[in-house]
Structure formats: C-alpha cells, structure tokens
C-alpha cells in the first residue's frame, strides 16, 4: 500500500527520525491559518508547499514550491491545492491534488539519497544510499551507477552495525552527531512498520549541522496491515484507479491497460499468459483480470461489468482453466451473465479442464452470440480477428 509523504513522516517521527516539520490540509479555507501556524511553530518565515499525491517527480511538475513570504505561500497553496499535477510517474492524464503539506524551509548544505528495501536476489534487507540526493535515483543508477552504494543487512551478528557504518563512511557523515542512531531508527521503523520500501529522498544536512528527512516515501506490505490498524487508515482511495478499486470490492484483481481485447481469466499466471498471447496474435490486451480459482456466475458477471466499463474494449476473451470448478457450470454462468447484461461486444470463450467438451456443447448450442474455442491459441486469434 502506498501512503502520502505527510503520513510517512508521521510514522518516521514515531521512530525518532528527524523530519522536516509541517501540517497537511485538504481545504483551501485552512491555508492562511496553517501557513501562520507553520511559521510560528517552527520559527520560520519561509515555507514549502508540497502537493500530496502518490507519485514522484512532484517538484518538476510544479507541485512543490519554496515560498519566502506569507503571500507567496498563500498563492502557491491556492494554486497547488486542486490542481491537476502531471509528473513522469502520473502518466499524461495527471493526478488531482486533494491534499497539500505546508512545511518549514530549511537551510540545506547537502542532499543525499537513502532507502531500505528487501533484496529478493540476496534474501536480505538492503540500505541503498547515494551522495547524489534530491534527484531521480533511476537517472543516477543509469548515468553514475558507481555513486549508488548498497549495504546488506543479513542475519549474522553485528550486521546492522556494520551496514550502518558502511553507509556513514560512504556518505562521509561521520562528523554528524547521532547519525548512527538515526539510521538504526530508520531500519527499526522499516522493520516494525512492515514497510516494503522506505525511501528518504532527499535526506539533507543543514547549515546547522543536522541530518533531516526532507521527504519520505513509504510503501507498506498490504498483507501485514492487520498488525497496523493506524497505518491501515492511511489508505487513500482517491489515489486509486476507480475501476481497480471497484474490482477489489468485487474480490477481483483487475489492472487496466491500453488495448481493446478484454481478458477474463482464472489465476494470475494464466491471466498474464493470456494477455501475452493476445499480443502474440497481433492484438492489444485491454486489461489484466484474475477472477480467482473458483470462477462462478457472480464473479463472471462482475468481471464483465468491470471490463465493459472500459469503453475501448471491442472483444472479450474468457480463458478459464477449470480444475476443481467444472467447465459446464462456468459455461452456464457465462451464458447467464451475457444474457442479463445484454452484451454487444464479441465474446470468445475457451474453457479447459473438467467437462470441457460438455461446456463447449452448451456454449455452441446456446441462443446467444458467443464464439467458443478449444485452445488458448485459437481463442486469442478469434478475439483479435473478430474486431479487425
């Protein structure tokens, strides 16, 4: 689960990690008061106004503004709150800014990159740091890979101590007080909050010789949210694709793509493979949709509803491998759903597994317009060719 910067900073603060302080608001009537409060509480004239969306590159897109005066801050806050922010991570359609964070401005000496994540290839957590902070880290990795330092935390004794020492040395942070403890606190925060990613970009040193998290990006392992009821409340539904959200409510796993061949499949691996074969046959998949192991009338009906909300869809390819679930039942479910929803797109159905032959007979003999297929190949070809 992704969360906002201001929420990530709330978590960091609980683990005694020094952060750039501020307050988040979602209403323009709170702007003036909040600017004054930030100025008073954190003894600063200048403030920063930051758009809170689940995407990086906010600064370049005009979603982060340094404001030397109250009036500047007023203007920036009124502009950013409610704006449609386009960054390299939002896609061309952009994202609506429903919340802004107004923070103190700090006198920055140097910016660093810091992250902790799990390295699947080494089966251990890893610190990733760079002296090139505040910029797109992917670009650094591409152009100056030697400037990215990794230190792994395996399960051997003193490993955390060693890894922390390693990153302090590589960033030349020895002169800062308590920096070792701060990195340990960041790791503690990562562990105890079930983060899948904890990124601070930039981590800064100030002219007052302090190390502070200027930004924070935290992803939480959704499977562990039962352990973190407060973090679970951070879930911001407005950040999610409405169709994907709707699918989740139906218990389906849906991801929208740009093509016009809708796919309905049971199982994630087969769903991906089905998208691939659509492409292989010269078409473009409109979506990933896993209806789960037990495909029944209800899940199929809901699947149709989700797929058809995407107006690009011209044909639908249903690929169900019936194991425990019998294909004849799935076939009847498909027919019932098509009738009830009065579909007017091409529907190609391929059912394989228990009672597959009987299922094909049911589909072929039904009075609704369905195209049946025996193999995954044949099904994909038909779904692509019918709309050419």
């Amino acid at each position: 689960m992704k969360i906002h910067e201001y929420q990530a900073k709330e978590i960091l603060k609980k683990f005694n990690v020094p952060i750039q302080e501020g307050y988040a608001i979602d209403s323009s009537k709170d702007i003036d008061n909040t600017i004054k409060k930030v100025q008073a509480d954190f003894h600063t004239e200048s403030v920063i106004v930051k758009a809170q969306i689940h995407a990086g590159g906010r600064g370049k897109g005009g979603g982060v503004k340094y404001c030397p005066t109250f009036e500047d801050a007023q203007n920036a806050a009124n502009t950013i709150l409610g704006m449609n922010l386009i960054t390299h991570q939002t896609g061309p359609e952009g994202k609506m800014v429903n919340k802004i964070l107004i923070t103190e401005a700090l006198d920055i000496e140097k910016e660093y990159y810091f992250a902790i994540t799990f390295d699947r290839s080494k089966n251990s957590d890893v610190f990733i740091v760079s002296s090139e902070g505040g910029v797109d880290i992917e670009e650094v990795a591409e152009n100056n890979p030697e400037k990215i330092i990794k230190a792994w935390i395996d399960d051997s004794t003193n490993s955390l101590d060693n890894a922390v020492k390693e990153i302090i040395t590589s960033l030349s942070l020895e002169k800062f007080q308590n920096v070792e403890q701060m990195f340990k606190n960041l790791y503690k925060c990562y562990l105890e909050s079930d983060c899948s990613l904890l990124e601070v970009n930039p981590l800064v040193s100030t002219t007052d010789q302090e190390i502070i998290a200027l930004d924070a990006k935290v992803d939480i392992d959704s499977n562990a949210l039962f352990r973190h009821p407060e973090i679970a409340t951070y879930h911001d539904k407005s950040e999610e694709d409405p169709l994907e959200l709707k699918a989740t409510e139906y218990g389906l796993n849906y991801i929208k793509l740009d093509g016009n061949v809708g796919c309905m499949v049971n199982g994630a691996g087969l769903a991906m493979a089905t998208m691939d074969i659509v492409k292989y046959c010269g078409g473009e998949p409109a979506n990933f949709l896993d209806v789960g192991g037990a495909a029944n009338v209800e899940t199929i009906k809901n699947g149709f509803k989700i797929i058809l909300s995407d107006k690009n869809v011209k044909s639908i390819l249903i690929n169900i491998f019936g194991g425990i679930v019998r294909c004849d039942r799935v076939a009847n479910g498909v027919i019932e759903a098509v009738k009830e929803l009065e579909l007017d797109v091409v529907v190609v159905v391929r059912l394989q597994g228990t009672n597959a032959k009987l299922a094909k007979k049911i589909l072929d003999e039904s009075d609704i317009k369905l195209i049946s297929a025996e193999t995954i190949d044949e099904a994909a070809k038909k779904a692509v060719e019918m709309i050419k």
Partner: protein, 291 residues
C-alpha cells in the same frame, strides 16, 4: 522414481477442519494420496473427512501416533507462518503451504528457520506438488496430470495446469509437477526444483514456467548452462505485456527494474541454451521438437 513425494508418502493436513482444508483433504484422498491425519489447534480429538481421520491439536501430538513425511497448510495468512514454523520444528521433511497473503516479514523469519533445518518448504501461495497417478499434496486438479517423463516447475497455478495439459496432449506425461508459488519469498526456488529434476532418472525433460519479477529464472538458466544442459528445458515467462511498477495478481509479479521483465528473462534463458517459447500455447509443440 519421482521427486519429493510418491504413493507411500504419509501426509498431514494443517487446518483440516477449515472449509478449504477439508475440501482439499477429500480431493487428495480421492486421488489416492496417503492422507493420515490433520491438525487444527483446539480441535484435537475430532474426526475429519469421509475417512474419519483423526484431528490433533499439534503436529507434536500427531507424530506420537503417525509417521509424518509431508504436511500441507491451509490456514489463514496471518497464522500461516506460525504453522510453517511448527512443521519445521517437528522436522517434517516436506512442507507445502497453500495459503496466500503471508506478510513478507514473516516469511523472512521462516526462511531463516528453514535454512537451519532439514525441511523443504514449497510455497507459500502455490498449488502444491503432484506425482501423477501416485499422490498430490495441494489443490491442483489431478486428472490433468498423466504419468510420464517431463518435470514441470512453475510459479503459477492455472498456468501450470495449462502446461500440463499441453504436455499430455503432445503425447508425454509428467514425472512430478511443482508449483513453487508467486510470492517474493518462497521456500523452494526455480533452481532448487530444477536441480531435483536434473538428478531424477525418470525425468527426461523439463518445463520451466516463470513470470515477471525476481531473478529465479535467470539464476536457474545460468546454472543449467553451467551444468552442461544435461536435459532439455522448455521455458516460458508470463507477463510480456505487463506494465512496469504494477503488481500483476501475485505478490511477487512486479517489474521493479530492467532485469525483471519477461523479455530480459527470456533472453537470458535463450542465451543459456533453454528452449524458450514466446507464446504459452507453444509449450507442447516445443517439447515435441526437443524431446
């Protein structure tokens, strides 16, 4: 011969009184797997399944009365890691975890315990293992799998059934099929399974099915090359059309970097001498060509 299990493997079901556990225990019994008993904490003394198998409170109790070679876990994800840990402590040789949605942090601890033990874990979030016409420990539809000489290792459930179906329709059979699971951390990697198949005399060829995310397929492919490509391996990676940064159903199926993509993995596999198919419909045909 086959790998991991056969008709004599004594199987325990953890979570046997739950709806999933009970249903699949019956299915396994119907497939003639030797399911001997079940465990559900707090339900010790009850009987479960049509065979009236005894239910125990713990594996420790079950072991007093039965020799246990394998266990299959159907418990809710928040308790699943604890169930795996219990099986590791009781030295169960083969542990198959079906449960989906276990926190990564829990699996890191499980992995540490596994490394210090003699147990093998398959999964979590997997369909299990089947040695056709002998036994299955998992949830796959048994009728798809016919006995033969092709080993299958896959991260997926239904895509494994699809592959098995093609293997059978191409005139071959399956020695053992292993679904290793789609999570970022699993007990048995693609390479672990490949090594078992390479050693198994009955297995003459291998089908290896992967998906986007992680480095398991690349790791296995490099080992296969280094080991002299002793048996033909047909490979497919699902997710060529998956957009970067999106989790495609499986927790582990996410493109995080350029090495995670389907095309990068397929290229490595090709370079290592594997027989890679671009379409999942071509697995059976390719097998005919190379075996």
């Amino acid at each position: 011969m086959s790998i991991l299990l056969n008709k004599n493997t004594n199987i325990l079901v953890q979570g046997i009184t739950g709806s999933e556990g009970l249903f699949h225990a019956e299915q396994m019994i119907e497939y003639s797997s030797k399911v001997v008993c079940g465990v559900t904490p707090g339900k010790g003394g009850q009987k479960a399944t049509s065979k009236q198998l005894p239910v125990f409170n713990s594996i420790h109790d079950a072991k007093k009365e039965f020799q246990i070679d394998a266990t299959v876990i159907f418990v809710p994800p928040r308790f699943a890691a604890k169930a795996i840990m219990e099986a590791i402590q009781e030295n169960i040789e083969l542990i198959v975890c079906i449960s989906e949605g276990i926190p990564i942090r829990d699996m890191i601890s499980v992995k540490e315990a596994l490394n210090a033990s003699n147990s093998r874990l398959i999964g979590p979030n997997c369909p299990g293992v089947i040695t056709p016409e002998e036994a299955k420990v998992g949830i796959m539809p048994g009728f798809v799998f016919k006995k033969g000489n092709v080993g299958i290792v896959s991260k997926s459930g239904t895509l494994t059934y699809e592959a098995a179906d093609q293997v059978v329709k191409s005139g071959f059979g399956i020695s053992t099929a292993i679904g290793i699971g789609g999570d970022p951390i699993v007990g048995t990697s693609t390479l672990d399974a490949i090594k078992l198949f390479m050693k198994d005399e009955e297995t003459k060829g291998i089908v290896m099915i992967g998906e986007i995310g992680g480095n398991y397929e690349a790791e296995a492919a490099k080992w296969i090359l280094k080991n002299g490509n002793k048996k033909p391996v047909v490979g497919f990676i699902a997710g060529q059309t998956a957009p970067p940064g999106k989790r495609m159903g499986h927790a582990g199926a996410i493109i995080g970097g350029k090495d995670d993509t389907a095309s990068a993995k397929m290229k490595i596999m090709e370079n290592c001498g594997l027989h890679v198919v671009q379409s999942p419909a071509k697995i059976g045909n390719k097998l005919k060509e190379v075996l």
